[in-house]
C-alpha cells in the first residue's frame, strides 16, 4: 500500500459527506476563508499567551516554538470510538501483563511465543526490575497508543508508548481553545468532554499508592526541568491536579523514604509521576552522572515506600522489535483475539525480512528500533535515491536497529492551509490510564502532517494538532452528496 493509493478522507469519501462531519461540512461551506484565517490567528494568540510551547532540538532558531493548531476538528462517531477504545483497553492490559511476566517468570518466552534473545538482549530490558512487582501490578500507568486509519473501519496501531508519552496537554488546551473560539459549533454537536483527564490521572496515580503509604497519598510530578520540551505539560498537569512539580534536587531519600524540600521542612512523597527517562532516575542505579534524578530513589521504590509511574523498564513493551509480537501477547495473556491490528512489520535482523526491505526501500517506511519522535526515519515513496542508498548501508551495518513497514495511506481530514482547505494526513494518540482500573477519555491527540502529501505527523517534523471530537449521539454513517452539504 503506497501513497499512490488515494487516501481515505474522513469527511468526504467518494464525493459524499460522512455522517459525523455533516455539520462541519455545512459550516466550512458557509464560512469565508478570511473568517477561518482570522480564527486561526486568534487560536495562535491564545496558545502564545498561555505559553504552550514545544522545544525543537538541534535546529537553532526560536527555542520555544508553538505547535501549529488547526481549527478544523477531527471527528469520530461514538460507535467508531467505542470499537477503538475496546481495542485499546485490551492492548494496554496485554502490554502490562507482558511487562509483569517479562520481569517475572517469562512464561511467554518459555512458551516460545517471543524469542528469548529479543527480550534479554534488548537495551530496553532493565535487569534491575527482575523479580519486582510494582504496586497494584501496574507497569505502564499512562500509555499513549499511536493509531492510524486507512478506511471507515480500518484502524491500525502504529506504535505503543509505554514510557513517558507526552502530548495530552495539547489535547486539553486544544479543546479549551476550540470552546472559546467556536461556542456555536459546540452547541450544534454533542461532543464527549475531555477536561476531566487530570482528575482521572490523579485517581489513577492515587490508586497505585505504595504499600507503606499512610493516609492520603501525596503525588508529585518529576520533571527534568524548564528546558525540557514538554515542561509546559508537566506544569499544566501538576496545576490541574493540584500537585507539586518537582525537579530531582527538590527530592531526597532518607532511610529509603522519599521527601521533598519545602518552605516548612521536608514532606514525604508517595507517588511520583516521573517524566524523566529511566536512565536518569537514580544515579546510584542507572547513569551515575545524572543530575536530574534522585540518589536512592530505586531503593525506596523496591522497599515499597514510593510508586514510580510509569515503572522503570516499560520500554521493553514499546520497543519496535517487540511490537510485532503484541497481537501474540493479547492471545497469550488474555485468551482473546486482538481487536486492533498491527501494521505488518519487517525486522531487518531477520535475513528474509532484510532482503525484502532492501529490495523495496522505495515503498517502505524504515524506522529505528529504539528511536522516537520521527527522527532517523525514511519514508520510502518520498525519498531520494541517495537517501535510500544511505539507509541501505545503515541497515546492512546494523540490521537489528531497523524495522520497516509498508507506507500506509493515512486517512486525511480537511485542514486550513495557505491555499484554503485541503486534506492532510492525520494520526491519533489516545491516552490510556491504567491503575486499579483502565480509563480513557474519549478521543486523544490528533496530529496532522501540515505539508502536502507528508505522512510524518511528529511535531518535531512540522506536524500540527487538531481537536478530536467524539460525538455522543451517533449520526449513522449516512453520507450526503458534498454539493448538498451547504
Amino acid at each position: 500500500m503506497t501513497t499512490t493509493t488515494p487516501a481515505f478522507d474522513e469527511m468526504s469519501a467518494d464525493g459524499l459527506v460522512r455522517g459525523p462531519y455533516a455539520e462541519i461540512a455545512r459550516w466550512l461551506a458557509a464560512t469565508p476563508q478570511e473568517a477561518l484565517e482570522r480564527r486561526r490567528r486568534e487560536a495562535e494568540l491564545l496558545f502564545k499567551r498561555i505559553g504552550i510551547t514545544f522545544a525543537v532540538y538541534g535546529e537553532g532558531g526560536d527555542p520555544e516554538r508553538l505547535i501549529p493548531f488547526d481549527i478544523i476538528p477531527r471527528i469520530l462517531a461514538r460507535a467508531e470510538w467505542d470499537a477503538l477504545s475496546r481495542g485499546l483497553v485490551q492492548r494496554v492490559k496485554a502490554l502490562n501483563l507482558f511487562l509483569l511476566d517479562v520481569y517475572g517468570g517469562q512464561e511467554i518466552v518459555k512458551a516460545g511465543k517471543i524469542p528469548a534473545a529479543l527480550v534479554r538482549e534488548n537495551e530496553a530490558f532493565r535487569p534491575e526490575m527482575q523479580g519486582f512487582v510494582p504496586p497494584g501490578g501496574v507497569y505502564t500507568h499512562i500509555a499513549g497508543i499511536d493509531v492510524v486509519r486507512t478506511g471507515p473501519g480500518d484502524f491500525w496501531v502504529l506504535e505503543d508508548n509505554c514510557r513517558t508519552p507526552s502530548g495530552v496537554s495539547y489535547m486539553l488546551e486544544g479543546r479549551e481553545a476550540m470552546l472559546r473560539l467556536f461556542p456555536d459549533l459546540f452547541a450544534r454537536h454533542r461532543i464527549a468532554p475531555v477536561g476531566h483527564y487530570p482528575e482521572e490521572l490523579l485517581e489513577t496515580l492515587k490508586s497505585v499508592a505504595p504499600p507503606n503509604c499512610r493516609g492520603l497519598p501525596r503525588v508529585a510530578i518529576l520533571t527534568p526541568g524548564s528546558y525540557n520540551s514538554a515542561y509546559y505539560e508537566h506544569c499544566f498537569l501538576a496545576d490541574e491536579m493540584g500537585v507539586e512539580v518537582v525537579e530531582g534536587p527538590d527530592l531526597f531519600v532518607e532511610e529509603d523514604v522519599v521527601y521533598m524540600r519545602t518552605t516548612t521542612g521536608s514532606q514525604r512523597v508517595d507517588v511520583i509521576y516521573r517524566r524523566i527517562d529511566d536512565d536518569y532516575l537514580d544515579p546510584k542505579v542507572f547513569r551515575a552522572e545524572s543530575v536530574l534524578g534522585v540518589p536512592g530513589l530505586m531503593a525506596a521504590y523496591k522497599k515499597g515506600n514510593v510508586t514510580l509511574a510509569n515503572a522503570p523498564g516499560g520500554g521493553i513493551a514499546d520497543d519496535k522489535a517487540i511490537y510485532p509480537y503484541v497481537p501474540e501477547m493479547v492471545r497469550f495473556y488474555l485468551g482473546e483475539e486482538p481487536m486492533l491490528s498491527n501494521v505488518p512489520t519487517y525486522l531487518c535482523e531477520r535475513d528474509e525480512d532484510r532482503a525484502y526491505v532492501l529490495d523495496h526501500l522505495d515503498e517502505l517506511v524504515v524506522k529505528l528500533t529504539h528511536g522516537s519522535g520521527g527522527y532517523g526515519m525514511l519514508v520510502g515513496p518520498h525519498s531520494t535515491a541517495e537517501q535510500r542508498a544511505e539507509f541501505a548501508a545503515r541497515i546492512r551495518a546494523k540490521p537489528a536497529e531497523y524495522i520497516a513497514q509498508p507506507t500506509l495511506a493515512l486517512s486525511t481530514v480537511p485542514t486550513l492551509v495557505d491555499k484554503g482547505i485541503a486534506p492532510r494526513h492525520v494520526d491519533l494518540r489516545p491516552f490510556v490510564l491504567c491503575g486499579k482500573e483502565v480509563r480513557i477519555v474519549p478521543g486523544g491527540l490528533t496530529r496532522v502532517a501540515l505539508r502536502e502529501g507528508s505522512l510524518v505527523v511528529n511535531s518535531s517534523q512540522g506536524g500540527g494538532t487538531k481537536d478530536t471530537w467524539v460525538l455522543e449521539d451517533d449520526p449513522a454513517d449516512i453520507t450526503t452528496p458534498v454539493g448538498e452539504a451547504g
Binding site: R49, S226, Y231, C235, E244, D250, R261, T263, T264
Partner: protein
C-alpha cells in the same frame, strides 16, 4: 511550598523590581545629563548611577570609560551584566517559567509578553532618541506586573514570597540612590544649582518629587529629602515603608508555618523598629553615609538569612 518554588517567586519579584529601578535610574541620569553642560560633571553622574545600581565593579571589569553611551548600554542592554534591564527581564521570565503554575494568568502574561517584546529589541531600541520610550515601557511593564500580582494572586505563601522579593529589592534601591548622592544631602554646601538638580533627581528616581511637596509644602531641603525617603511611612518607596512590608510579610509566612521563625524575622523586625522610631536629626548627626552603608549591608545579610531559612532549606 517547595523551597525551589519559593526561591523562584522571590527572585521573580526582585528582578522585575530591579528592571524598573534601573529604568528609573537611567531616566533620571538622562535628564541630569541633558541639564548639565560640564562634561566632567556629566560623566561623574553616570558613574554615580553605576554605583547606585551596584553595577560599578562589573562595569570596571569591562575596561570601558563611564560615558553616557557605555553606561546606558551596560545598564540597559548588556546581556553580560546580570543586572541590566534586559538581563533582569530574562531572569524574571526564567524564574516565572520555573513556577508557571504558582503564577496567575495575568502575572504570567505580564512577564511573558514583556520578555517576548524585550527579545525583539535591537541596538536601535537603545539609541538616544528611542531610549526614553524604552525606559517608559520598562517602567510601565513593572507597574503592570506589580498590579497584576496585587490584584489577582491569592494571599497565600506564593504571594508573600513575590512581595518579599519586591520589597527587599525596593528598600535596597532607595538606600543606594540616597547613598550615591549623600554628599548632596550631607549638609556640605555645594554649588546651589547643581545641588538642587541632584535633589530633584533623587526624588524623581523614586517618583517622589510631588510627594515631597504634598508632605512638606516647602522648597527642597536635603534633610527633608533624606527624612522622606528613609523615615516617612506614607511614601511607598521609603525604606521604612518597605521594611514595614518586609516584616509583615515574613511574619505572615511564619504564621502560616505554625510560628516557625529564624534570624531573618529578628533582623527584619530590628531594622523596621530602627526606621520606625528613628529621627532624622540622629541619622544626620551620625553621618548619612555611614547610616546608609550599614543599612545596605544589613539588607544583604537579610537576603542571605531569608535564602538560608526558606529558599535553600
Amino acid at each position: 511550598m517547595l523551597s525551589r518554588t519559593a526561591d523562584s517567586l522571590y527572585w521573580l519579584g526582585r528582578y522585575i523590581e530591579r528592571a524598573g529601578n534601573n529604568a528609573r535610574g537611567l531616566q533620571v541620569a538622562l535628564r541630569m545629563a541633558s541639564l548639565t553642560r560640564d562634561v566632567a560633571q556629566r560623566d561623574s553622574a553616570w558613574r554615580a548611577l553605576l554605583i547606585a545600581s551596584g553595577c560599578e565593579p562589573g562595569f570596571r571589569e569591562t575596561g570601558q570609560v563611564a560615558t553616557q553611551e557605555t553606561v546606558v548600554r551596560y545598564l540597559a542592554a548588556d546581556p553580560s551584566n546580570p543586572s541590566s534591564i534586559i538581563s533582569c527581564i530574562e531572569a524574571a521570565r526564567r524564574n516565572g517559567r520555573q513556577v508557571r503554575t504558582a503564577l496567575t494568568v495575568d502575572m504570567w502574561e505580564a512577564v511573558n509578553e514583556t520578555w517576548s517584546e524585550a527579545r525583539r529589541s535591537t541596538q536601535q531600541t537603545f539609541a538616544p532618541d528611542n531610549l526614553p520610550v524604552f525606559l517608559d515601557w520598562v517602567k510601565s511593564r513593572t507597574v503592570l506586573f506589580n498590579g497584576a500580582y496585587a490584584d489577582t494572586m491569592l494571599r497565600d505563601e506564593a504571594w508573600r514570597f513575590v512581595r518579599l522579593g519586591t520589597m527587599l529589592e525596593r528598600a535596597d534601591n532607595t538606600a543606594r540612590v540616597l547613598d550615591v548622592h549623600h554628599h548632596a544631602l550631607g549638609g556640605t554646601e555645594e554649588d546651589g544649582a547643581v545641588g538642587y538638580l541632584q535633589w530633584q533627581a533623587i526624588l524623581r528616581s523614586v517618583s517622589a518629587l510631588r510627594a515631597y511637596h504634598w508632605v512638606y509644602h516647602s522648597r527642597l531641603e536635603p534633610r527633608r529629602i533624606a527624612e522622606l525617603l528613609i523615615l516617612r511611612p506614607e511614601l511607598p518607596r521609603s525604606m521604612v515603608a518597605c521594611y514595614g512590608r518586609i516584616e509583615e510579610t515574613l511574619d505572615g509566612i511564619a504564621a502560616s508555618h505554625g510560628g516557625r521563625k529564624g534570624e531573618c524575622h529578628r533582623l527584619a523586625g530590628e531594622m523596621h523598629a530602627r526606621l520606625r522610631f528613628g529621627r532624622i536629626a540622629d541619622v544626620m548627626a551620625g553621618g548619612l553615609h555611614d547610616f546608609l552603608t550599614a543599612t545596605i549591608d544589613r539588607n544583604l545579610e537579610l537576603g542571605r538569612q531569608i535564602q538560608g531559612f526558606y529558599l535553600q532549606a
